[in-house]
Structures are given as structure tokens and as C-alpha cells.
């Protein structure tokens, strides 16, 4: 396998308390994880499990207390590589309103590349391309604050893509969106991965979204407790539920049926797979 684009090597991180005497629990504890180029990895975990901290550690927005984070073999703690690291791994956050800086969509997308000192003609090209990929090109002259949440979030993603990162980390980008907004954002992200080959680390609460990934990493209590394909992860319904997460309804239904001695296969994930599984049994 190729070299990892992000490598967490035994990383521990804790936030500072306001009162100096109090030492907070580690938000990430002895965490090791490798993300490879071209992967689409979903990260699941309940609130407070350390997912967002992981996102901020991934490109040096936070630095580990111990252990190392390597981005394309560069240590995020090494200041002189800082700009290169942030160009390699871009982060998109949950609330689109906190990420928009300009009053016109295309200016907002241009903000990143402008700060990298890129030539105007190249910026123009990147802005147009990025907006097309997320399906917001027709809105390039609009005012961002008048867009819907899903549209704003796609503009924020375009702003990251315009910096041409090799990896993009998204921290619950759809948590504040409605089903349509979620679908559009998810479609844009899948295109980044499949068409541009950008590595995607996708932090989410939505199990249906996690099913779309190649690989799922489950976090609990500041570390990684499960790592596998969606099929592998969701076949262990009980473990997932025991840490306060849910599995897709299809998996839960299949699990309940299996417990009543109905011999369904173990890895039915999509609606069609479950329907076919049931159909097969009924036909005998």
C-alpha cells in the first residue's frame, strides 16, 4: 500500500482548563491511525468522543501533547512546514456561517488561493473549477448569506478545494442541514473523492452517510475502537449500540430477525440487499 497521507502516531491531546489547577481529561489518548491517499474514510463516534479534536490535529490546527501527526511525512509540530501542511490537508467545519468571509460567493472561494500568493489567472481558473465541482457555479455572483445552509456548506468546500489540497477533512459538514442539503453536500464530496482522487476524512453522526465510505473508523473515549469496512463495522450491531451510536435501520432489522433464528446473511447493508435477502428466504 502507498504511504499514508496522514499518520497519527500514538497521539495524546488535552485542552487547557480555564482554571489552571484543573487538569482536563485527554480529548485524544494514545491514538494511532493511518489514512492512505485516495481513501474515503468515515469517522463515527458520539459527542465528546474526540472526533473534532482529531480533525483539528490532522493539519496542525492543534498540536499533540505527545506523539506525532505526520502529513505527507511532515511533522505538524514543525513550524516551517506549516503552510505546506495546511495546503495538503484542508478542514471544513460544521457551521457554514462561521466559514464564509466574503460578500460574494466567488470572492469567498478565492480567499484561500489569494493568501497562498497564486497568480490571478490561476485563481480564476481554480475558483471556477471548484464551484463547478460542488454544483455552485451558477451562484458565483450571489451573496453567500442569502444561500441555504447546504449551498453555503458547498461554497465552504469549494473554498478548500480551490487550494488544491490532497486531503480534505470534514467535521460533520451536514449536521446543520436538511435532507436535501445533506444529499447535495454528500454528492459533492463523493465527486471530490472519485473524480479528483482527493482523500476524504468524513466525520459524521449519520450512519447512512458512513455507509458510503470505503472504510469506517469508530471513536470512543478518546481513541479508535473499531476500524473496518462499513459491512464489517455494522455487522457488530451490539458493539455499536453499546457506545451510544446507532446502526442503519436495515442492519438493526436484520439483526433482530437473526436473533429470532431467521437465517439472514450477516452483511446486508442497503435497502435492496435486505429486501433481496428476505425475498430469498421466503422463496425458500
Amino acid at each position: 500500500m502507498s504511504e499514508p497521507i496522514i499518520e497519527f502516531d500514538n497521539v495524546t491531546f488535552r485542552y487547557q482548563s480555564d482554571t489552571e489547577s484543573e487538569v482536563l481529561e485527554a480529548a485524544v489518548k494514545n491514538l494511532s491511525l493511518k489514512i492512505y491517499e485516495g481513501e474515503f474514510v468515515a469517522v463515527l463516534g458520539h459527542n465528546g468522543s474526540g472526533k473534532s479534536t482529531l480533525a483539528k490535529l490532522a493539519n496542525g490546527l492543534l498540536l499533540p501533547e505527545s506523539g506525532k501527526v505526520l502529513v505527507d511525512s511532515m511533522d505538524t509540530a514543525c513550524e516551517q512546514d506549516d503552510i505546506k501542511i495546511k495546503q495538503t490537508v484542508g478542514v471544513v467545519f460544521q457551521n457554514p456561517d462561521n466559514q464564509i468571509v466574503s460578500t460574494i460567493v466567488e470572492e469567498d472561494v478565492a480567499f484561500g488561493p489569494e493568501n497562498l500568493g497564486i497568480e490571478p489567472s490561476e485563481i480564476r481558473r481554480r475558483v471556477d473549477e471548484s464551484l463547478k465541482i460542488v454544483g455552485m457555479y451558477n451562484y458565483r455572483k450571489h451573496e453567500p448569506h442569502k444561500l441555504s445552509g447546504g449551498q453555503k456548506q458547498r461554497v465552504a468546500i469549494a473554498g478548500i478545494i480551490a487550494m488544491e489540497p490532497r486531503c480534505i477533512v470534514l467535521d460533520e459538514p451536514t449536521a446543520m442541514l436538511d435532507p436535501v442539503g445533506r444529499r447535495d453536500v454528500m454528492a459533492a464530496i463523493k465527486r471530490l473523492n472519485s473524480e479528483l482522487g482527493i482523500t476524504v476524512v468524513y466525520i459524521t453522526h449519520y450512519m447512512e452517510e458512513a455507509c458510503e465510505a470505503d472504510r469506517i473508523v469508530v471513536m470512543d473515549d478518546a481513541s479508535v475502537i473499531m476500524d473496518g469496512t462499513p459491512r464489517e463495522i455494522f455487522s457488530d450491531t451490539e458493539k455499536i449500540r453499546s457506545i451510544g451510536l446507532d446502526v442503519p435501520q436495515t442492519c438493526r432489522l436484520a439483526q433482530m430477525l437473526r436473533q429470532s433464528s431467521i437465517e439472514l446473511e450477516n452483511d446486508l447493508l442497503s435497502i435492496d440487499e435486505l429486501v433481496n435477502g428476505i425475498d430469498k428466504l421466503l422463496k425458500g
Binding site: D18, G45, H46, N47, G48, Q94, S148, G149, G150, E172, A175, M176, L177, D178, P179, V180, G181, H205, E208, G244, L245, D246, P248, Q249, T250, R252, L253, M256, L257, S260, S261, I262, I271, D272, L274, V275, I278, D279, L281, L282, G284
Partner: protein, 288 residues
């Protein structure tokens, strides 16, 4: 008997300018006392604008809002009293916490109602109990709490006013599954203990199926449909056209039915799905 009701409610933003937008267009809803109502619809369908009318936060451009049969805008006193009787909790209410302690934050509403100290104290503790905030947390700064805890404190701040109608705008958004369950339990519990009306704006068709006694579907500034979960979810194809999606398990049964199996399509929760399939397997003698 009707508890809260709108009559031809219409609301336009930026009226008289070229940016005029009709956010509500002739909306008629009628909610009875003690119901647990879900308002669903995609972003921009008018859900939030609708609920902001119910406690007099927005004034109708035309039409009326009636609480116990009386127009809430009939007098100044009436509007003021409505704001105490109908409690509205915004989306992401944790951003509105502002006091130095959890206790003071929850007490803010009741303090403005002219209650005695003793009564305020009683209400704060009762509200904290409803949302599962333990006594020892009351002295803490709300900013030191986790996201889920902050959300519950903010909801307690509305519950402490003990509103006859409790309205929450997307109370579970951004929470993990365990956090969502907790919030839903609070709502059900508040309704059960007080017999009051609860209205919840939601995107999650899965959640709605499990708690609502009545569903109101908003689309393009109008009420598209309303009724029980069964009545509304029946038309799943239409719901997905207007940007909503029926639960996965419902789709499983729609597909099984298409394959010719004698199953009900009115299956909205995993538990219902399980019973329905067990019935089918048992009828075919496939159970061991």
C-alpha cells in the same frame, strides 16, 4: 378542543421592497391540547416562520393566531401573556446561554414572570429534573458543560416557564443518537407529566414516526399535508419529492410489497418492521 390555531396566516419578509418573500401563505393549522405535534418540511419551507408566530414573536402580515380561541394580537397585554404561555426554544439554543451559572440561566425566564423567589427556585429545580440536569451542575458555569448538556440547560430555561405550549425548533440537530434519544424522552415526559401541548420542528422522519401524535408537513410556505403519522407517511413518494425522506425501513416494506408479498406499507419503525416480518415468516411456516 382547539388549543392553538392559525387562520389564513400569511407572512411576508421585506414587504414593500423588491426582495419581498412570502414565507407563509394562508396557513391554517389547528392543534388540540395535549398533542405532540411534529412540523416537518425542507429548509425554507416556512416551518420556523410558522412557529415564531405561535408565541407572538412575529406578527402576521394578515390572518390570525388564536390561543384558546382568542387572538393573541388583540391587545398588548395579550401578546405579553402569550409569550409566557407559549414557550419557544430556538434551533441551537445553547448559543443563547449567557448567565454565570446554570441555575441563573434556567431562572431567567421565571424571574421575568413576577414570581416569588421560592416559586422561582422550585421551578428551576423542577425544570432541571425534567431535562436530567443534576443538582450539583446548577452552580457550574454553563460554558463548562458538554454540547448535549448545554442544549438540555437551554431547553430547561424554556421549560422553567412551564408553558402550556412548548415549541422546539429542531431540538436534536447536531446531536449524536444517544443525545437525540435523551431530548425526545424529555419532550414526551413533559407532555405526559403536564398534559401540555408540545410542538417540535424536525427533519428526522425516523424520529417523528416514533413520537408524534400529529404531523404537519410544510412545503413552499403552505401546509402541504397534516394528520397522523400513518396518514402523512402513506404518501412516501410525494414526501421525497418535496425534499423529505421516509425511514429506510418504510422503503424496505414498499419494495417487499412491490415484489408481491402481503405486507403492510405502513411500517415506520424497526420494531414495527420486525413484527410484520415475523408474522409473514410464521404464516409461511418458516419459524423454527
Amino acid at each position: 378542543m382547539s388549543h392553538i390555531k392559525t387562520e389564513n396566516l400569511t407572512y411576508t419578509y421585506s414587504a414593500g421592497t423588491p426582495f419581498k418573500i412570502t414565507a407563509l401563505d394562508n396557513v391554517n393549522i389547528d392543534i388540540e391540547k395535549g398533542e405532540l405535534v411534529a412540523v416537518i418540511g425542507h429548509t425554507g419551507s416556512g416551518k420556523s416562520t410558522l412557529v415564531q408566530h405561535l408565541n407572538g414573536l412575529l406578527k402576521p402580515s394578515s390572518g390570525r393566531v388564536l390561543l384558546d380561541g382568542e387572538d393573541i394580537w388583540s391587545s398588548k397585554e395579550k401578546v405579553r401573556s402569550t409569550r409566557f404561555r407559549v414557550g419557544l426554544c430556538f434551533q441551537y439554543p445553547e448559543y443563547q446561554l449567557f448567565e454565570s451559572t446554570v441555575y441563573k440561566d434556567i431562572a431567567f425566564g421565571p424571574s421575568n414572570m413576577g414570581l416569588s423567589e421560592a416559586e422561582i427556585d422550585e421551578r428551576v429545580r423542577r425544570a432541571a429534573k425534567y431535562v436530567g440536569i443534576p443538582d450539583e451542575m446548577l452552580g457550574k458555569s454553563p460554558f463548562d458543560l458538554s454540547g448535549g448538556e448545554k442544549r438540555r440547560v437551554a431547553i430547561a430555561g424554556v421549560i422553567s416557564m412551564e408553558p402550556e405550549v412548548l415549541i422546539l425548533d429542531e431540538p436534536t440537530s447536531g446531536l449524536d443518537p444517544a443525545g437525540r434519544e435523551q431530548i425526545l424522552a424529555i419532550l414526551k415526559n413533559y407532555r405526559k407529566m403536564t398534559g401540555n401541548t408540545v410542538i417540535v420542528v424536525s427533519h428526522s422522519m425516523d424520529d417523528v414516526a416514533r413520537f408524534a401524535t400529529k404531523v404537519i408537513v410544510m412545503n413552499d410556505s403552505r401546509v402541504e399535508d397534516s394528520g397522523t403519522v400513518d396518514e402523512v407517511y402513506e404518501n412516501s413518494a410525494h414526501l421525497s419529492e418535496i425534499g423529505l425522506s421516509v425511514p429506510q425501513v418504510t422503503e424496505v416494506f414498499i419494495k417487499l410489497k412491490k415484489l408481491g408479498y402481503p405486507v403492510s406499507e405502513k411500517i415506520y419503525t424497526v420494531e414495527q418492521g420486525y413484527s410484520e416480518l415475523m408474522r409473514l415468516f410464521s404464516e409461511r411456516g418458516l419459524l423454527k
